[in-house]
């Protein structure tokens, strides 16, 4: 199997906090990886480094075999990466539909000149409607994104990430803030995405769902990997249990 994502000794420090302390990992094409760890473990920071939203102090990020460490976020997205933000960032002043159309139009927005020469949005609008349907947002298309409740915005994040037609998606807590029914629906969507051949990296505190869907589990604590492998084996690892003691996470998973 070929690697879609490789990290080589990635590290970043904020003031006195070593948020990510030298992570070296490879993610194979088509895998479904859970990335977990207690609050402040460095999950979001790692995702942001992979996406190019943060520059690491050291280390290399490779996408599909090529080094993208110096590349911008938009270039990485064009190379097949997509992500959802833990704290949702829709374009609040655009409609829900426009948010997704813009993502679906990634072929037109590669550069200003190309963008200037194209006007029609019909095809993108059709695709956007389909994607909105698949995440369960049909009926909200015409509303301004800023008016949606958090649960729907989480789904909009996912819709936009899917619309850029990625090879790998990094999902940062896509289930947080959703109720039980919404969460299982969102998980269904993510599993469907995976079935279509897209590699998924899922950051989630909802361990129940993580254990159910992930084929591989990476556990981060204080910015370093303390467990990696088959989810059940990893969870049985004493170091991992140790990290979770007191955070109440195990209880949560067993519930």
């Amino acid at each position: 199997m070929s690697a879609v994502l490789e990290l080589d000794d990635v590290a970043i420090r904020f003031g006195g906090v070593q948020a990510v302390g030298g992570v070296t990992r490879t993610v194979d094409a088509g895998d479904f990886v859970g990335l977990i760890g207690p609050n402040g473990a460095g999950k979001t920071t790692l995702i942001r480094i992979i996406a190019g939203l943060l520059r690491p102090d050291r280390g290399k990020v490779m996408l599909g075999g090529s080094d993208v460490t110096g590349e911008s976020t938009s270039a990485r997205v064009r190379a097949g990466l997509a992500l959802t933000h833990q704290i949702v960032r829709p374009f609040r002043e655009m409609t829900v539909l426009d948010n997704v159309i813009l993502a679906a139009g990634i072929g037109y927005t590669s550069g200003p000149l190309r963008a200037l020469l194209h006007v029609s949005r019909r095809r993108e609008a059709e695709r956007a409607m389909e994607i909105l349907g698949s995440v369960g947002l049909t009926g909200t298309e015409r509303r301004l994104a800023g008016e949606l409740p958090l649960g729907q915005l989480k789904r909009l994040e996912l819709a936009r990430a899917l619309a850029v037609d990625p090879k790998i998606v990094l999902l940062d807590e896509p289930l947080a803030g959703l109720n039980h029914a919404e969460a299982s629906r969102q998980v269904e969507t993510i599993m469907e995405v995976h079935r279509r051949g897209i590699t998924v990296v899922l950051v989630e505190h909802n361990l129940e769902e993580v254990m159910r869907v992930c084929r591989r589990l990476i556990v981060l604590n204080n910015g370093v990997v303390i467990g990696d492998g088959d989810p059940w084996e990893v969870m049985a690892n004493p170091a991992v249990q140790e990290a979770y003691v007191g955070s109440g996470m195990m209880a949560h998973a067993e519930a």
Partner: protein
Amino acid sequence: MYYIDLAVTGVSFGCMYAMMSVGLTLVYGLLRILHVAHAAVFALGAYVVVLVANATGSIALGFLAAVIVTPLFGIAIYRLLYEPLLRYRPDVPMIASVGLLVLMQDAFRIMFGEQGVTFRQNALSFTTFDFHGVTISAVQIALIVTAAVVFAGLHLFTTRTRTGLGWRATVSRPKIAASFGVDPVKVRYLNFAIGSALAAVAGGLVALLNNLVDPSIGFVVSYKALAIIVLGGLGSVRGTLVASLVLGLVEAYGTIFIGAWLDRDAIAFLALIVLLMIRPQGFTGARTA
């Protein structure tokens, strides 16, 4: 001796810039708004000083009136203009602020004439002292002494008094300060009041220096003050002080070296743009990707 004269000029202008800019940088630190209309407060202060001084014959009364009127005015700007606009992106209140400045400036012109107002009696403006060939005017001394007193007082206020400590804490750590029971709205009022009073004092002293208050008095100074607070690392009082003094000196000496091809008033912006190219986050800003 010429070079020392220039140093005196530079330092006294630097003191004026500092008093003008400190209110601006504090408003930025607190609200993230570029309070361009601060220049109108500066001009208002200058007008109040000259008008009251002419009416009563006492320049001291003029300054007293100015430090009473302008804080109220500054607070009114916050309450009526900025507070309702806080939820928009910071450009929105800034543009409103530019509008207010332009409006006030024209209002001064309409009310008090294009030529402006001069002091009826102003012995101070023409008093100069001579120290071994270095000439220094009474107003320049007043500028330097006032600034020294004001900043020393401000330092004591923010390090020794409860209110002052709360103020400083709110500027640097708003959430933490609030959790210690500091009322953020009161801090804002205090901030506008003190900043406005300082600008008014600076305006009054400039009026004395030129023996004139005309409608454009606040104009150039205000934009320079914007450059200064960016140079000083937005929100930092110490940085603003340093940037003000440096700018005063650079302008004073710069007129000799680059005055032939650039207006003195543009020097601040040259420095600003050069700095932003080298350090886009300002002197003290944090690093981001």
